[in-house]
Each structure stands twice: as structure tokens, then as C-alpha cells.
Amino acid sequence: MVELGIGIRQLHDALQRRELTATDLAEDSIARIREWDKDVQAFLKVTEDDARQRAKVLSGQAPQGLLEGIPFALKDNMTTRGVETTCGSKILSGYIPPYSAAVTEKLEAQGGNLVGKLNMDEFAMGSSTENSGYFPTRNPWDLTVVPGGSSGGSAAAVAAGMVAFALGSDTGGSIRQPASYCGVVGLKPTYGRVSRYGLVSYASSLDQIGPITNTVEDAAIVLQAIAGHDQRDSTSVRLEVPDFVSALSGDIRGLKIGLPKEYLDLGMDESMRAVFDTAVNQLRALGASIHEVTLPHTAYALSAYYLIAPAEASSNLARYDGVRYGFRAKDADNLLDMYNKTRSQGFGTEVKRRILIGTYALSSGYYDAYYKRAQQVRTLIRRDFEEAFEEVDLIISPTAPTTAFKLGEKTSDPLTMYLSDIYTIPVNLAGLPAISVPCGFISGLPAGLQMIGKMFDEATVLRAAHAYEKATDWTSRRPQIAKGGRA
């Protein structure tokens, strides 16, 4: 079997040399899904007939673009015309979108071969994929631990070598944290870099789509393919998209890297601290200079986030009322009763919790005390980063305070679960680009290094992550599953 994890460019080269065909790649992807996904449970839907059909067409020609014939999958909150899109929720079960998301269109136009839709926490609300309305996903490194979330299906599918790459979405860490837990690369682009058209909205001022890949170069290739202005998303920016791949020079001499002292105080366990310190030294050895920076409002980020995101969600999720699409409860007495029953039966516990918190924070008498205050704190957090970035080019931290936790370990206490996003959340509040790149192992489970860049400076983030990746061999480590052996 082909190793789908060897890198998009390597797969492309093999296709060009005719050592492989698009059909070989599609068949390999499908075979791995068949073999392993009953254990990992990354996929909500496998579109194998479409993928085979498409591979057949693509196999007849030499590939043009880098993505041509490459099997990929999408988090199930990105619409795919004609293919069920549930957002991990029962309330959208059976929903067949009449249109494709901008990212779906772009990847397919460039010859990418969609093989399926990936599991996620319902409406992207969660940090473990245990909140999926269907089933939990398991971590390919250890089937008893979570893959992280909410893009847990995306990270697990890439780590297990079931697809060459996947897209996830990141509202408070949902690309980076699962990438860290699964030992793969996850990039959250700057807010506005990638069109959100066709992305099911959770918290619109924070949501951003990005790649989950095996290597940093793959992340650059996929970002290149999906970035750019789209008039159907008025928050996507009209800025020129730089050449991300050519930014990967391998050279970070003279790069100024900031260590936020507040992050290091935030309950990071000792083993994570040791892994992180090693990474810092490796970056120094590569010629970067390390500086302490301060982000004084970090301690308030989690609270601000857990008001802003639910407030926006409570508004965005008002549309699921059983009228136009998705699930409708039976036996309703009247319209109001139909709304109530549909939403109560269709949404899961965490989604209801966040809708209620958000509704409360926006309700009359509490708006100023909660929502407005949270938005003011957001300003302070944004300014913290702006000031730090006057001194440095990049800020680093662990992606999460720990490695992946056991299934069921944190489901009973929502607040503990929220803490796993403590290093990633401030980045969304400020809209900045950030990557998680594998940086070691703790008791057999992967740890991730987060690199945060200036607004629209994904190029520096990718360059630094790439240089670090080349100097270490963490991204080349694969779980037994991906190597074809038993986990």
C-alpha cells in the first residue's frame, strides 16, 4: 500500500512519474478507512463511489496541479453539494446541501479527491469529539484516548494515514488542539484569509477554516489552495495571497521569537514544560533569538471566549427550527411547540448549554455585564498581542497544557474541558494565524508546539514551523495504524 502520509508533493511526483495513479491513491485511502475506521471512527460518511469515479477520470491524465488525484476529507461542517452534511448534529441528519462550500469548490477544482466527511463535536462545540451527535472518535496513537476537538475526525484521519490531508475549522483551537493530540500539523489561518462561505457558522467572528496535514509543506500547499477573497463571505479579505510554499526557506536565523511569560504560569504540567523547553532550545540552535514577552490579559481570555462564542452561537443556531431543513420533531401542537420540540430533541447537551449561556449573556439586563464586557476584554487581548509583536516576529507556546486525555475523563465537567484550549483561545480572539507542529512525545502520546504570527503573516509561521520540523523528526513519526500494523 501507498503511504498517504509521505507528503503531497511526493505523492504528486509519483503520479507524474506514473508510478502511481489517482485510482491507486483512492483505493489505498478507501482500504485504510475500511480497515481502521471501525476502531478510530473518524468518518461520518465515506463517499467511496464518487471518489472511485473521480479517480478513474483523473487517472487517465498526467496531474497538473499538486492536489490532482490526492485523497482528502472535510470536517462535516463544510457543505458538499449532494453529500450529507450534519455538522456532527442530529438536527442536521439527512441534510443534503444544495451547494458546496468555497473550500470544497476550490479543492475539487484543483483536482483534490474527496473521500468523505469527518466527525466532529456537534456544531464544533467541544475539545474531544466526544460531543458528536453520532459517536466519539478515537486517537490513532491510543484508542483509549480522545483525538482532541472539535476537528477530531480530521486530525485522526490524517494521523492514521486514511487521507493525505483534511480541512478543519478553528474557533478556539479546534484545528490546533486535535493536531497536537494526534501528532500532525494544524494551521489556523488569519481571520479573513479563507472564505467561510458554506462553513456552518458557530461563532462567526472567530471561525476560520484551515488545513490539517502530515507536514508543514503540506499545510502551505493546502492553504495556498484554499486562501483568497470570496465575495460570498464579506469578512474574507481582499489581500493578495503570498506564495506560502516558497516561503519555506528552512532559514530562521535572526528570527525574533517571543515566550509569553503568562502562558508559562498557566498550569502546564512538568513533562509538557520539559518538551517545550527542548523545542525552545532547538529554535535557538537554528539561529532564532528568544525573548520574553508579556500578554497581561491572558488570564481573562477563557472567560471572554466563553461568553462571546456562546453569544454568537445562540444567534447563529436560531436557524435550526425544523422549518427549512434537517430534523423536525413529530407531534407538535402548533408552531411554537414544533420549534421547542425540534430544538430540544435535535441538539445535544453541550450545544444546549452554550445556547443558554449565550442567550443569557445577550439578554436584557445582562448584555453590558457579560457580552459587552467580554468584547472589551477582547480589545485588551488584541492589544497585548499587538504590543508583543512590536518586539518579536513570532510567539510560541505549547499548543495545549497536556497531551490527549482518556475518553470520558472530562465529559462530566464542562469547565475542565474548556481549560484544554487555554493556549489557543487568545489567538482566535485576536484573529491571528497560528500553527501546531509536533514537538515530541510524553508517555507515547504526541505533544504540539504552537507558533503564533502577526496578522496575515502565515508565511513566517510556516517558515518557522518548517525549519523546526526539518531540524527534528517528530512529524515523520506515525502511529502503528498508519504503518499498517496493529495499534
Partner: protein, 96 residues
Amino acid sequence: MSLSKKDVEYVAALARLHVSEEEKESLSHELSRILEHASELQKLDLDGVEPTSHVGVTQTVIRKDEPRESMPPELVLQNAPDAEDDQFKVPAVMEG
């Protein structure tokens, strides 16, 4: 800050959600804890700080008001739980 069962009931009605007696109990506990955590924000002096609702580039997004093709009704209605004569059908709005 704590949320009583009555508060949960009120907010649930605003959000068009039914919550059972049992759920009210656990929700009032969980939501209180989350709000308690959020009350840390009250410690900050935020006088004169502008709220941020959008990050990044602020740009004008107007376009020409030109007619474009829209989605055909049968496609719009294909996911409807109930439809009739090119319209979504819902239960009675008012009793009687």
C-alpha cells in the same frame, strides 16, 4: 453569580428550548459555574475600552445591485421537512 432553576426556565424559553426538571437542576449548577468563572471579567477596569466585534481588515463590501440567478425553488425545498406548492409548510401558527 448563580442561576436559579427559574432563570434557566426563562432563558430556555427565550432560546426556544424545552428543558426537563432534571435538566434544569444540572443546568442551573453548570451554568452558574461557567458564569462564576466569567465573573472574573468584572475585576477589570474597562472604562473607555472600545469593544471588539471584528478583527482584521475592515473593508467596504458593497457591490453593484445587479440581478443574479438564484437557487431554483425545487432545490431550496429539497431538504424541507414538509412543503406544499413551492412553500415550506409548518404546523398552525395560532390555535383554533
